[in-house]
Structure formats: structure tokens, C-alpha cells
Symmetry: D3
Subunit: 73 residues, 6 copies
């Protein structure tokens, strides 16, 4: 305890970005919960197939997310 599950669309992030998520989120949790709990802090990454993550009824593809990432706000 605790357990953190990160869920992504496959193909959006590369291996080093996924490792960075595990590291940064573990650090954020430990900062709040206490360093003594680092060894029992589990953070996992799961990926959903492109097209299988629907927002408003339309399945988002890997390409859709990549377009969204670079969008000027």
C-alpha cells in the first residue's frame, strides 16, 4: 500500500517516458506518505489498444492523442 495504476493509450509514450512516470509518481507519493513507505509503494503502467478508449462515444487513436499533445492552447 499504496498502489497507483497509470492507464495510457498504447504507442503514445516510449519506454523512457513510462519509466519516468513510475519514478516521478513514486516520488510524489512518498513525499506525502513518508519515505518509510517507498518499498511498499507500487506504481504500474497499463496500455489500452488504440481506438479502444472512447471519449464522448468516439474511440481515440494513438494518432489522435499525439495531435492533441502538440496542440497550441
Amino acid at each position: 500500500m499504496p498502489l497507483v495504476d497509470i492507464q495510457l493509450i498504447e504507442g503514445v509514450f516510449d519506454k523512457s517516458q513510462k519509466q519516468a512516470m513510475i519514478k516521478k509518481i513514486t516520488d510524489a507519493m512518498v513525499e506525502i506518505e513518508s519515505e518509510a513507505m517507498r518499498g511498499v509503494t507500487w506504481v504500474r503502467v497499463h496500455e489500452v489498444a488504440s481506438g479502444n478508449w472512447g471519449i464522448g462515444g468516439k474511440g481515440l487513436t494513438t494518432a489522435d492523442v499525439k495531435a492533441l499533445q502538440t496542440q497550441v492552447r
Copy 2:
């Protein structure tokens, strides 16, 4: 909010059936919750490997489900 997770055995449904699930279930949710929430209604499809979904202790395969679908009731 809301989030709906549909879990299937892989290989039973094709891409267009999975898109139909996302669309129909989003519509069913929006009908109950209000059209204003469509944009924050997420519906995802996940697939479990053939043989890894046990009912009564026996792992169901893709072929088992396909046989079940066409069974005369």
C-alpha cells in the same frame, strides 16, 4: 465522470463491434445522466487473453465464447 470499462475475451468481437459498444454505451449513459455530460463520458474496451477468463474454475477460450453465442436457447 463517468467512466465505463467493458471487458471482453480477445478475438470474440471485431473492431466495428467494439466501436459499436463504445457508441451505444455512451448513448445509454448520456440518456440517463444528461447530454451535457457527453464530453466527459469515457467508455473503454479491454481484452483478456483466451483461456485467462475462468468460470467455475475452467478458463474460457475465444472458441468457447463463439460456441456460446450461437447456442440455441
Copy 3:
């Protein structure tokens, strides 16, 4: 198989709306997968505590969702 998990913020929907979600989503699934699979179609409703569902870093409350539902689009 299949299993569908509906996730909501607690206190937004009443008992009859949650029963309607179970019924409508089961019907939507059976329509795609075959009536023969109705008995093994499981649909569950889970609720997350008010404030514990963050969007963009801010925890949504039951009141926030109720305001969103009635918003003019």
C-alpha cells in the same frame, strides 16, 4: 464474459438511475453479442467519494457534477 464496470461519483445518481444503467447497458451489450449471452453478462456500478475524482488536478464534488448536468450547452 463480458463484464462492464460503470464508475460514478457518489450521490449524483439515485437507486433507480443506477438500476436503469445496469438494465440499458446489459441490453446494449446483448444486442451486439447475442441474446444467448445475457446470463453471463455482468454489469456493475461503483461509486467514488465526492472530491476524489480529479480532472485537471481538481477533485470534482457531487455538487460540481450536478451543476455540470444542468448546464446549458
Copy 4:
């Protein structure tokens, strides 16, 4: 997308710590994925009842976790 689910034992963290988790983890995700995705970054907190989270076969209580937090390493 993405969705992050934080799972805790109930009663270990107070409301402001849970809000801090949502905020810090959203910030960590956005830093990796792009600021443009903040609005579709969902981070949720779920709590498991005291005694229902087993490690090595023994159910951890809220008190067990509090003792672990303050342990000298």
C-alpha cells in the same frame, strides 16, 4: 486519457493529503505528457477498508500503516 487510480487503505490520509496526491500526480503526468493534456488527465483516489489489504497473507489495518509510516529506517 490518461487515467491514474491511486489506491489507499482508508483512514491513513486526510482530505488535504488526498487532494495533494491528485494535484501532484496530475502535475507529474502533465510534465511528461504535455500541458495541452491537462484537461483530459483524470486522477482518482480509492480507499480499501482497513484489514482488507493483505500483504503476505495478513490483512493490513489503518493502524499498521500508521506504524509503518513513522518507522525509523
Copy 5:
């Protein structure tokens, strides 16, 4: 690793039965995976509200499950 999540309808099992599930399932996992992994074998129990677990479109209550348990096969 591994993690096992047991999901029940609330009020069907008492505290000692839930502890027995955690213990027996941990033992079953360790028997297959190796005794060396006991310390990183997590088994959790989650409960879904009575009426929120639909089978075939009808929400099962705690009473329905208790009736099913004692049914002559």
C-alpha cells in the same frame, strides 16, 4: 507482484471469512509461484453495494446471494 483482487457483494461474508480468503488465496499463489515471493504477494478484498452487481440486467442484492449460497444443487 502478484496482486490479487477479490470482489464481493457487501454483507455476504463476515470479517473472518474475508481474512480466510486473503490467507487461502495467498497460500494458493505462493504454492505456484514460490515461497520466496510471499512478501510481495498482495491480496485485497473489495465490496460492491447490494443491488449494484447486475447479472443479466438485474442487480443482485445481498439477500439474493445468501439465498443462492444455500440452494440445493
Copy 6:
């Protein structure tokens, strides 16, 4: 009801070990809940990609788990 989800790192266990988990855990559940519930006891196996299951901030690989399994305690 009930549903049990077993989560593993991919490539650690072979097909027969995963079938043994489904069988043994179903038997353990039925022993506690009543034999009458065997038909509605679902046990599933899910696998997380090697490297995506972080403990203490470091992603565990299939090789790391295999080393851990054979470790002298």
C-alpha cells in the same frame, strides 16, 4: 459474484501455471462461499508488460521476478 482478478508480470508463469491459479483460487473461494456458487465464481488472469510494474520507483522486469523466485530465503 464473486470475481477474482489475478495480476502478474508477463512471461513469469506458463499457461499451465496460469490454469492452475484459476483452478486453485476458484476452489479456495468455493470452499468459503459454498459449492452452490461455483458457476458464478469468475477468476481472471491479467498480465502487465515487463518493466511496467514499479516497486519503490523501479520497474520490475520478467527477469527480476524470475531471480526473486529462486532466491534463498
